[in-house]
């Protein structure tokens, strides 16, 4: 894995990108903005699934989701750039792999919702309480996205031998 990281870092693409001094802070800023879009948009749906915001049908909340997905894509893109610029920082970090694992959990959870639960959830009444399965899926999403945030922010400090 570290040989792969060393190879990526030896490529001209990686060197050029990392040598562009403004690119890293610009990507960091975009990564933070994308995070707010993702947690704001997805968080609203998660809270509705848990049972808050009664009076709003789930299908109406879902109309906010393209913005959450936009935030996710922004972060996937800027995250890929970090990875290309400094792969050894991430590929050698257990915390980074935990972050990837939590993204996978959040994605699998969203996929489960979309394929199995959405059809019935989207036709529910505005005031309807949600069945236990929807509450679990909403809570799982919230917890995993905040775990992603935690791993990302703590990455430079956790598991560094301190």
């Amino acid at each position: 894995m570290l040989e792969f990281a060393a190879w990526v870092e030896s490529t001209q693409t990686s060197k050029t990108l990392f040598g562009t001094s403004w690119l890293w802070p610009a990507c960091e800023s975009l990564h933070f903005i994308g995070l707010c879009m993702l947690i704001g948009g997805a968080g609203l749906l998660d809270l509705r699934l848990i049972g808050m915001f009664r009076g709003v049908p789930i299908r109406h909340v879902k109309a906010m989701m393209p913005w959450a997905i936009g935030g996710f894509l922004l972060n996937a893109g800027t995250g890929a750039l970090f990875l290309i610029m400094q792969p050894h920082l991430y590929l050698s970090s257990g915390v980074w792999w935990s972050k990837v694992a939590f993204i996978m959990i959040a994605a699998a959870n969203a996929l489960f919702f979309e394929t199995r639960l959405a059809p019935s959830a989207l036709s529910m009444d505005a005031d309807a309480d949600t069945p236990r399965m929807l509450k679990v899926v909403g809570a799982c999403s919230l917890v995993s996205w905040f775990a992603v945030l935690y791993c990302g922010r703590m990455l430079p400090y956790l598991g560094t031998g301190n």
Binding site: P25, E28, S29, F32, I33, L35, C36, M37, I39, G40, G41, G43, L44, M52, F53, G55, V56, P57, H60, V61, K62, A63, M64, W67, F146, L149, Y150, R153, M154, P156, Y157, L158, N162
Partner: protein, 160 residues
């Protein structure tokens, strides 16, 4: 200035930044990011709705989001104060810091005005007025500036 210098050079700062524990600087920094996600995330949703995104959501039903805004703000005010103390002398002469503070104040203020105009009124139209929409858009732009300024501050620390 002497006060800010003494804060930055205090025993507290030395312990807070020098400690090998993850429970000092790293945890407060992470709390500052969690608070941002809650505060700006909730503001983002409200302002998008005012701008007619997910236009079927009744505006008044989003009122509870303002509780999230204030909880997120409280987390960041506290964590931000601690972070400020440990860099006080650097920050009071850092224009980017003032840009961040001014953007946050203006973004929050616009958020409160938008609440009063477009969300609070019983039976308010679900289509926000032009002025509320402009304020929502301005608030979103100001949050973006605050985030960028906050990120840039990390690059403007003195070496000392």
């Amino acid at each position: 200035m002497a006060l800010f210098r003494s804060l930055q050079n205090s025993a507290f700062t030395e312990w807070f930044l020098g400690s090998a524990s993850i429970w000092t600087y790293p945890t407060v920094l992470t709390l500052h990011t969690v608070g941002m996600a809650i505060l700006v995330g909730a503001s983002f949703v409200i302002h998008l709705r005012v701008l007619q995104v997910a236009g079927d959501i009744p505006m008044r039903r989003l009122l509870p989001l303002y509780r999230f805004i204030w909880v997120g703000f409280a987390i960041n005010l506290l964590s931000g104060l601690i972070l400020f103390v440990t860099e006080a002398a650097d920050r009071v002469v850092d224009p980017v810091f003032y840009v961040k503070m001014a953007s946050i104040a203006a973004a929050l203020w616009l958020g409160v005005i938008v609440k009063r105009r477009a969300i609070d009124p019983e039976g308010a139209s679900d289509v926000a007025m032009g002025l509320s929409r402009s304020m929502a858009a301005a608030s979103l732009a100001l949050w973006t500036i605050a985030i960028v300024a906050g990120r840039l501050m990390a690059y403007l620390k003195s070496a000392a």
